[in-house]
Symmetry: C2
Subunit: 354 residues, 2 copies
Amino acid sequence: MARQRQAVTIKHVAADAGVSLQTVSRVINKEPNVRAEMIERVQASIDRLGYVPSIAAQRMSGSRSYLILALNDRERTIADWRARQGTDWVDQMLLGSMLACAPHGYRVIVELVDTHSDHIERELLAAIAALRPDGVILTPPHSQNPVISGLLAQQGISFARIGSLAEGPGFTLTMGDEGAARLATEHLIELRHRRIGLIAGSPEYELSSWRIAGWRAAMAQASLNCEQLLADGDFSYGSGLVAARQLLACSRPPTAIIASNDQMAMATLSVAREKGLSVPDDLSVISFDDTPIVRFNHPPLTAVVQPIAEVSARAAELIIAERTGKDVGDSPAAIPATLAIRKSTAVPRNPMPV
Amino acid sequence: MARQRQAVTIKHVAADAGVSLQTVSRVINKEPNVRAEMIERVQASIDRLGYVPSIAAQRMSGSRSYLILALNDRERTIADWRARQGTDWVDQMLLGSMLACAPHGYRVIVELVDTHSDHIERELLAAIAALRPDGVILTPPHSQNPVISGLLAQQGISFARIGSLAEGPGFTLTMGDEGAARLATEHLIELRHRRIGLIAGSPEYELSSWRIAGWRAAMAQASLNCEQLLADGDFSYGSGLVAARQLLACSRPPTAIIASNDQMAMATLSVAREKGLSVPDDLSVISFDDTPIVRFNHPPLTAVVQPIAEVSARAAELIIAERTGKDVGDSPAAIPATLAIRKSTAVPRNPMPV
DNA sequence: GTGAAAGCGCTAACAA
DNA sequence: TTGTTAGCGCTTTCAC
C-alpha cells in the first residue's frame, strides 16, 4: 500500500475557496480579523471537502499539539489493571478528560511513569520531546513531585495537579479531602459513635494529611478524643490489616473505622470477621474510594465518592483554556467528594465498649 | 511563557557527532548500510544530549506517527464508565496494547466512535486526518463493520479486528469464543447437567454465533437435545431477565444456564432468586466475561475469562510488525479464553426436573 | 556508506 | 482584512 499523504490539505481548501492558506488557517483557528463572509466561504469549502487539519503539522509550525498527557503511576496502575478488582481511576479520568477535550479537538494519551525511579526525569522528558503535549494532568503521587512540576514549568507546558495544593506552578485541584473526611466522621458521630478510628493513607500523599485533618476537626468539634484512634497505613491491603488490628486491640477500641481507601477498608472488614465483630452492628466501616469492590461487598460499604471524572474534566478545561487565552477560572479548584451511605454504618450496639 | 521549540533536535545531534542529519536519521531508524562505528558515535551523541525524535516531525516527513488508535463503541464505553460496575474492557485493552507498544516507542490513543451513527465514516476520517495513526485496533461491534474496514484499507492504515473473522482486510483476532462456549458447556455436562440453556448475545456480534456454535457442538457430542434451550439476548440486563424467564418457564427447564455476558448472568441470578431457585443447587450459572461484578457476587460465578489484554497486545504487535516489515505472524490469531470455575456451578440437585 | 536538497502541512511574522 | 515568506524537525529522494 502506498504511503498516503494527507488526503485533503489546507492547500486544497484554499484553492477551493479561492483564498490564501493563511486565511484558511485563520478560520480554522477562529482568529479575529476575518470578514464574516470569508469565514463562511472558507467554512463551506472545509465542510465540502471534509477537511480536518493535521495535528502533526499544527504542532510542527509551533502551534498546539492538541494532545494532553494523563500521567499516572506506572506500578500502581498496572497492578490495578492486573488485579482486575474494578479499580476505575483511569477510566474515570478518561471519562472526564476525554469528554472535556472532545469539543476542543483535543485528545488524551495515558502515560505511565515510574514514581520512585531515579530516571523519572528522563522518562518524562522523552515523552515531552516525542509528543510535545499542550498539557499534562498529574495524579498523585506525581502531582506533588516538585521535580515533575519544575520540569514541566521549565518546558513551558501547562499542567494540572490533582490532589496537591503544594506551592508552585500548575493548576491545583482537589476533591475536598478534608471536607470529605469531616463528612464521613460527622455521619458516624450522628449515629452516636464516640470512638471513631482512622486508618491514614500513605504519608507520601498530601491528601492523606488532609483526611486526617478533616477527621480531627470533626472529632474536636464534637469534643471527642482522638487518642489511640489514628493508625498508619499506606493504601495497601496488608497495611490495612495491621492498622485495623492495632485499632481494635487498644484498650478502648473504636466502634467505627474510616479507612483511607478501598483496600484498607476491605482489610478492616477482614479483621472484624476474624475478631467476630459484625459490621455494622459491632463495627461501622467507611471507605474512602467508592470502587466496585466496596459497592459489591456484603454489606455494601458506606463510602466517600470521589468525583474523579469531574476533576479530570476540570483539569483538561483549565489546560485548554490557558492555551486559548480564555478565562482560566479558579485554581485551586475543589470539587467536593460526597458520601454514599450504605449498609456498613449504623448506630453502635455497644456505644461505649469496655 | 515562551513557546518552546524542541530542546534537542536532530541537528544538534548531527553537529555533536560531526555527521549529517541523514546519518543520524538512519541510526534512529535502524536502517542498514551504516557503519558500526558511525552508529556508535551517533548513539553516543543521542544519549549524551538526551535526544528523542519528534513524533510530529517524523509523521510530517511521511514516516510513522507511532500512534495506534484503540477504537471503541462510544455509547457502550461511556455507559460502562458511568455505571462504575468495574467493567474493565478498556483497561485490559490499554494494559495489553500499551505494554506491547512501549518497547517500540508507540502510543495508544483511546478513540470513541458511535456505532449506529450514520456519520461514523466522517468521525473516523476526521480522527485519521488529524492523527494519521499507524494502526487501528477495532473492537466489536466496529471490528465487523465493513464500512470501517473498507475505509481503513482504502486509507492504507493497518488495523486489527478483535472478535471478527469476516473476510476482508486487516488482521483478525479472536478469543476462541466457540471453544470457550464448548468448555463451559462441557464443564456443566461433566457435572451431570443434561438440560443446559444458553442466553445468546446480540446477533449484531459475530462472536454471539460462535458461542452458540460451541454450545451446540458440546451438546451434540454428549447427545443432548438443545430444544427450547436457546434464548435471545442483546447483552443488556433487561434482555437477560426476559431470556432467563423464558428458559426457566419452559416445560423442561434447564438446570444450568450459560449467559453470553456478565449483565445477562446477573439477570439470570435475579430471575433464579425470584423463582426461589438456589444457585448452584437448583441452577448452575456461567458468565461469559469475568468482570468484578461476577467475581464479587455471592456465590462468585464460574466464568469464561477472556484474555483481552493478551489479544490487544497481539493486535498492537501485528500492526507494529507490519510497519516494520518484520514477520507478521498468523492471522487469524486465536488466543483462547479459559474457564474460571467458582461457586455458581455444581451437580444439579434434581438432574431431571419434572 | 554518506551527504545535500526538497518537501511534508501548517502557522508566525511580516508585508500589502 | 488579506496574502506572502520562511521555517518547524524530520525523512525521502537522489547524488556522490
